[in-house]
Symmetry: C2
Subunit: 914 residues, 2 copies
């Protein structure tokens, strides 16, 4: 361990701004300001290393710390010409925590330390203000008792209230000296009763105990929780700054305040802040009195104000960023107690960054580094009015950001119905399925009881840019009663609730929301970002609307266009279902015919007649089924083609990656009996046939079932139809002068052979369309790498695939063995307990899944050096994952439209970070 | 291409036995026999390379083949002093196929080639037997028409029947020369009508066409199917052997027959075979006449018999293996037409191998290489009487070998009930669940409509050594009607069916079965195998009975003891369910108490009373729940402990690897309403509570859900109880002098942190038990590597694990994204079409899953060089997978008891193969 204490006073400090790790943010900046010649009350900072030693040493001071403290106190007394506990010119100090990362309000502070029966007299002598001195004493006892000894603050508050009642006064400030003295005695009693000991009179002892309390507060549950929440890791502990007290409450020539060099909420370049006359800092924070705007200081203390303006300009220029400062004016003299880079809203961050560049304080690179990509969500989605009161009844996963408020409905149909009447609704489901898409679109927000960050509800909602709280396990949904209950409360159909998609909170009632508009600064910053990034940013979009929006957000192509959502349109789902109901029969009848023909060959001629008759029957049945099957596919073809044409038009000049049908067929059939009956009526078939089909298609683990390319192999006609629709659409729009770059993606490949069979199938169709249409369209055929096996065998798969798109959602599911729909029961607990650092569906697991991605790229490029590689899982819009994608050399990331700006910025920062 | 034709005659041949790839098995062995001086009719063999050229050359002969054929025919004519088509001493030849692998009956043969109106007269002259010559001509026309021209053989049979009817005779042999001549004319007409051409009279043209027909037959559908079925790969094609005809049908001094040097069915060292007097080879095969046993030949032709005995002894000594031979005696002279290593039953294979070693013909290494490990299944399970007639109604997956016959029942309860009355039953289910274990045990065999080779039914049945046909998708089970239907047939409750677990066949009626006893030879061979193998063989066993049986089969420890099956005992399941029903409540109430306490801290004292009352209520509820929870666990503890004690006793001196609870909790709760109601009554709680709990625990993809170590982390008490039971049992039996080597296995690990938390949890309990019991037991804590992530992060996981057991069932599921319960709908089609070479649940996928296993070993040992590594997936009993496990350096494989001998042999062969 190095030097344990850093002193600062009168323009000279041992530390400086870049020693935050050691001195904490506060200590380092106090030193820096001191060195800048800014008036800072002298003091010293005990390092974070000491805190670390203290914790490791079972909460004991390192050997020579006391000696060091003694030395520094002596130095401080010397500088201040005052004495700790002195009855003439007593030195009072504050003892404050300060870690390298700001953790506001999380750790403890003691003010006015050094008061005892002697020094209170000294303070009176020095200030000539008896009331002030006793009030300071009272405050110190309260704070010390609370912070150092953990005595309930309430006990002291009760006494003060009693005293005021007795004296028939309203404000604390109206208490007389006598009353304050009585109060101090009462406080001593409380302390004695609680601790069994007398309140310490030795200032040196007070100091040791206060320092220990600050050290301990590093590991209090609040602080631990805060670090967890804000992902603060790798710090040694908190520093402790012991600093000469200055008082803003020494009369009307004193004041205290906090201020920002610019408006942290809007970013406007205007001095911003507030102050209280005759008050201590804690009064501003506590909000007992309403502070005045900082401009008013000019009127009451023009000199101090002038000096403050000078200092703030100086600090902003010095730090080249917005500063958040605390100051105190004691008897007309200004002291700076803290400065740090100011926290700001996303809107402010963007404006400030662009303005600072304009003012030549920073360059473009620095400007974009001043905005956190994750923050941009705020700009792209409505938020709640921060003043609105929240009555939180449950908290789920923050699955898709935004703020939504509306009437509760429990079915997609209801949502669509009320939506069409312009009513705002929140769709509440146990979980959603592709059938609910219409209702999700009509709703303001979606709340589900089950499913994780990449469940159907979450993925679709993010795609729509719609607020969603998913996997809210504490709510019990009862569809038949049309209500949900949560910890005793019952919310009925039609009741208003509000969802915060950024926190996962579910609230009772209608909360006011604020819509944010994108500024010119935003586009400017995004363009700067674009000039630095190497990664291309694509979007996951299934509709022309989504494609258009994503392009507006800067998407450079579609990285994933899912075709199955298109199947759920009301005028299509009928045909889809017809296709599914007969598809299996076509196959089994075909097999039966083959078998019977083989049998027939073996039979002597005279014994074959019966079998021949039977065979004819089967052949007839087969023909009927086949007609229904191909008939349904034929009807789907033009619908899909027109979808693709529209999307190609929106994406003129940019690549469009279309994934062939992926979900298992049973997803398209209704599971509920009533819906089955309805469908049977519509299709004029027996409901029992539907029930049987649903049963026979049911799977225990559909995620690992008959889906993706497995469908394409067993039902080649479906993929043929889709390939035809894509290529016909491409040819049609190309004829109209649109530049079309189709990429046809085969999902869920595990082996080279699967890829070969399906590549050939698609190629045959594509070449045929090109020939017939007489239009030459360049297209690529590739695959999604989403099973671990595909990544492991990427060298083989790449023989048949021109591109890989890593489907990291499914890849995460299979690599971890986590069903994204089922992990709600344990993943939150795992992340909370640190067993998982992060939910791997939110943040790409670089250590496991990431290895497979790296392996897939390396092996794939070994076989095919021109292989195009991208990612289309939800991770494509998460900043740390984008950085990983940049680092391992992917060509692009693809994410939902509303995450495109985040990905653009994250990609730029990754490039700069290299 | 090298030499295209290999000649053989009179003691000298161009080829030899090791040229099978080039000359086919038949051609190579004819050459070898010729060189050995054994009487073989002269001839020549066209190589497989020529066949390959022919196919590649669009079915055209290579340029100079005709010239080569001419040369060899000339040589043959010279040797035989006969002329093809000659009217004096005509040369007749056979044209036969023969590939490197035997494919009996799959390809085509033409006999008596060379006959035409001239040579038939020559044949009469030469033999003096007019009837014989015309009969030979008739046979040749039929064969040529059928084989070379594809004319329906039936057409010729009809004519012969007509002729016999007309002549009022019964046997073909009674046809007169005149009638035969008429028949030949009729045959010419049929040929003309079918082909539009005259039957070829040029023997050279006949020969070319016959050779082409044999080449083509290599790619006929039957042959392709056969190669698929027997996994014959990498061959160029078939060779063609053209050989001088000898006739076994030239009178009562002629005969033809097939024989084995030893009994291929029992292995007994006794000449075995049969013959027909005055017959051609095809008559023996066709089974029109019943042949006589080979011993009888001694009586009718003692000289020829004597020579045959000499030759067979010579051949067996030469080839050092049982020979399967064909011979013909023409006019008292013996000719050998074929010899090859004889196919044999498993029983015979074992006896022959041991006997040959005893006779010093082969050494021990060779002996064990003479038995295919996969064959041993036959020895360990009953089989059907091969003579029993099979009425196959459906075919499923051959999930667990054996033969079973019994009455159909549709529930485990019924199976148990009838089983207790000593009735034989077959349990038919859509799929089985752990609740069905009792019924499965009571049944002779199990038939399921769903599920793959590693579904619950398959795994459990194999463990029990019980016959099982799984995933028989064509059957429709109707529980309420108590029947199943399959292609129109309905099988009801109580009807008899039979299952062949080795073929997957489901048959109507009661088939006779044969039980096989293990011979002393078997143990001898196994011991020889053990002396060569490096891999240890363990078993997957959950009960003392299984453990005992496996040890008898040679298991050297338990590689996987699943603890969940123990939970299903009637006297335990109640406690298990009680535990599950309250476990969640305990957790949520605990959380509620914490939350309320935090809230309480924030509240002013006067406002806290209401909350305090509420808190007390919650605390009371919590206590009740906790009591129920720990109460249930306490009752389970002694039951589990006693299980483990019994297993440890059976495994005295051998390691026992016990896996902690793995399946999701909902597997233990009844899904059906009736069973829920029953349970509610028993537990005296509201059925609605059970329904809700079942609903809340339900998962969309339980395979990827809240199971394995995830349970251990969220419900630590369960794993604590299990660890305690294991360690107490270990201490108890050690006190009794039993050598106990427990290994505690944590399932489904994905991260180091999970492993750390659970290793610590188990360790604390284990040390505590050891301390309390005062018995020092060495134990290991390790994990199952069954998620891809665990393999990828094996270097980290190994920090906390002392052993890895690769759970290749689940690892395959996750690597492929295949749910073993759902792949029935496409994997069979994939393997059939060659998209998958093998079902990866049967044969370890070395290319994908195998890579993860290799990576896991390498990374694991990097961190912990002493890491013990094994495999406990079903692949541990599959020979090619065992070889892979040997090659990559695993310490052991573990498989179900009945596969232990297979694994022992396979492991030995792997070691010898290196």
């Amino acid at each position: 361990m190095g030097k344990s204490i850093y002193f600062f006073a009168n323009g000279r400090a041992d530390g400086k701004a870049d020693m935050k790790e050691l001195l904490g943010g506060k200590g380092a900046n106090l030193a820096e300001m001191t060195n800048l010649g800014i008036p800072v009350p002298p003091g010293f900072t005990i390092t974070t290393e000491v805190c670390d030693q203290y914790s490791k040493n079972k909460n004991k001071f390192p050997a020579d710390l006391s000696k060091e403290i003694d030395k520094n106190i002596a130095r401080l007394q010397n500088v201040m010409d005052a004495e700790l506990g002195g009855s003439d010119n007593p030195l009072l100090v504050s003892v404050r925590s300060g870690a390298a990362s700001s953790m506001p309000g999380m750790m403890d502070t003691v003010l006015n330390l050094g008061l005892n029966p002697d020094s209170v007299e000294g303070l009176i002598k020095k200030t000539g203000n008896e009331r002030f001195a006793w009030d300071a004493y009272r405050r110190f006892i309260t704070m010390f008792s609370d912070v150092v000894k953990g005595i309930d603050r309430q006990l002291f508050e009760v006494e003060i209230e009693k005293q005021k009642k007795k004296a028939k006064i309203e404000n604390d400030t109206d208490l007389s000296v006598k009353q304050l003295k009585e109060l101090v005695d009462k406080y001593f009693d409380i302390y004695k009763k609680s601790t069994g000991k007398k309140f310490p009179t030795s200032p040196r002892k007070q100091l040791d105990e206060a320092i220990e309390a600050v050290f301990k507060s590093w590991n209090n549950p609040r602080a631990i929780k805060y670090r967890e929440l804000y992902d603060i890791k790798g710090l040694l502990g908190t520093a402790v700054t012991v600093q000469t007290m200055v008082f803003g409450n020494m009369g009307d020539n004193s004041a205290t305040g906090v201020c920002f060099t610019r408006n942290p909420s809007t970013g406007e370049n205007k001095f911003y802040g507030e102050f209280l006359l005759n008050a201590q800092g804690e009064d501003v924070v506590a909000g007992i009195r309403t502070p005045d705007p900082i401009e008013d200081l000019k009127k009451v203390m023009p000199d101090a104000y002038e000096r403050l303006i000078g200092i703030k300009d100086n600090l902003e220029k010095h730090y080249k960023d917005v500063q958040d400062m605390e100051f105190t004016i004691q008897d007309g003299k200004l002291y700076m107690l803290q400065t740090r880079n100011g926290k700001r809203t996303a809107q402010a961050a963007v404006k400030i960054a662009v303005d600072l560049e304009k003012e030549k304080l920073i360059d473009k690179k620095t400007a974009i580094q001043r905005v956190e990509p994750g923050q941009l969500d705020q700009l792209l989605h409505p938020t709640f009015d921060p003043k609105a009161k929240r009555q939180v009844i449950a908290t789920g996963l923050p699955a898709s950001p935004g703020a939504a408020t509306g009437k509760v409905v429990f079915s997609a149909e209801e949502a669509e119905e009320l939506g069409s009447k312009n009513q705002k609704v929140i769709l509440v489901r146990v979980e959603t399925s592709p059938e609910d898409i219409g209702g999700m679109y009509a709703a303001q927000g979606i709340l589900t009881a089950r499913g994780g960050m990449t469940s159907h509800a979450a993925v679709v909602a993010r795609g729509m840019g719609k607020c969603c709280v998913a996997g809210c396990g504490s709510i019990q949904v009862n569809y038949s009663k049309k209500e949900f209950s949560v910890s005793g409360k019952v919310v009925k159909d039609g009741d208003f609730i509000s969802l915060d998609g950024s926190t996962g909170e579910v609230m009772l009632g209608e909360l006011a929301t604020i819509e944010v508009k994108l500024s010119g600064d935003f586009s400017k910053l995004m363009k700067w970002a674009d000039s630095y990034r190497r990664l291309k940013i694509r979007t996951n979009a299934d509709t022309p609307q989504d494609a258009k929006r994503a392009r507006e957000f800067g998407a450079e192509g579609i990285g994933l266009c899912r075709t199955e959502h298109m199947f759920f349109d009301e005028d299509r789902i009928g045909n889809v279902r017809q296709m599914i109901l007969v598809a299996g029969d076509v196959k089994s009848l075909e097999a039966e015919i083959k078998d019977k023909n083989v049998e027939l060959e073996k039979l002597p001629k005279d014994k074959a007649d019966a079998l021949k008759t039977e065979l004819k029957k089967v052949e007839k049945k087969f023909k009927d089924c086949e007609q229904l099957y191909t008939g349904a596919l034929k009807k789907l073809l033009p619908a899909q083609r027109s979808d693709f044409e529209k999307i190609f038009k929106e994406m003129d000049g940019l690549p469009v990656n279309i994934r062939l049908l992926d979900p298992p067929l049973h997803e398209f059939l209704p599971k509920e009996k009533e819906l089955q009956t309805e469908l049977a009526k519509k299709m004029k078939i027996d409901v029992e046939d539907i029930r049987k089909k649903v049963e026979s298609l049911a799977e225990l683990n559909p995620m690992l079932g008959h889906r993706g390319c497995r469908l394409g192999i067993t039902y080649p006609e479906i993929y043929q139809m889709q390939a035809q629709a894509i290529m016909e659409a491409a040819c049609n729009v190309k004829k109209k002068g649109i530049k079309v770059i189709p990429e046809i993606m085969i999902p869920l490949i595990t082996t080279e052979e699967e890829m070969r069979v399906l590549r050939e199938l698609v190629e045959v169709v594509a070449e045929d369309v090109i020939k017939k249409k007489g239009v030459k369209v360049d297209y690529k055929i590739g695959t999604m790498i989403e099973t671990p096996r595909a990544a492991l065998a990427a060298n083989q798969v790449a023989k048949e695939a021109e591109f890989f798109s890593f489907g990291t959602n499914d890849l995460t599911q299979m690599t971890f063995g986590y069903s994204r729909d089922d992990v709600g029961s344990f993943v939150p607990e795992f992340t909370k307990r640190g067993i998982l650092e992060k939910d791997p569906f939110e943040v790409l697991d670089q250590n496991g899944v990431g290895q497979l991605v790296k392996m897939g790229i390396k092996k794939g490029k070994l076989t095919r050096p021109t292989l195009k590689v991208g990612i289309c899982g939800e991770h494509g819009g998460e900043p740390s994952s984008v950085k990983f994608c940049h680092d391992i050399g992917l060509d692009y990331v693809s994410c939902s439209p509303f995450r495109v700006p985040i990905a653009r910025l994250a990609a730029a920062l990754s490039a700069l970070d290299q």
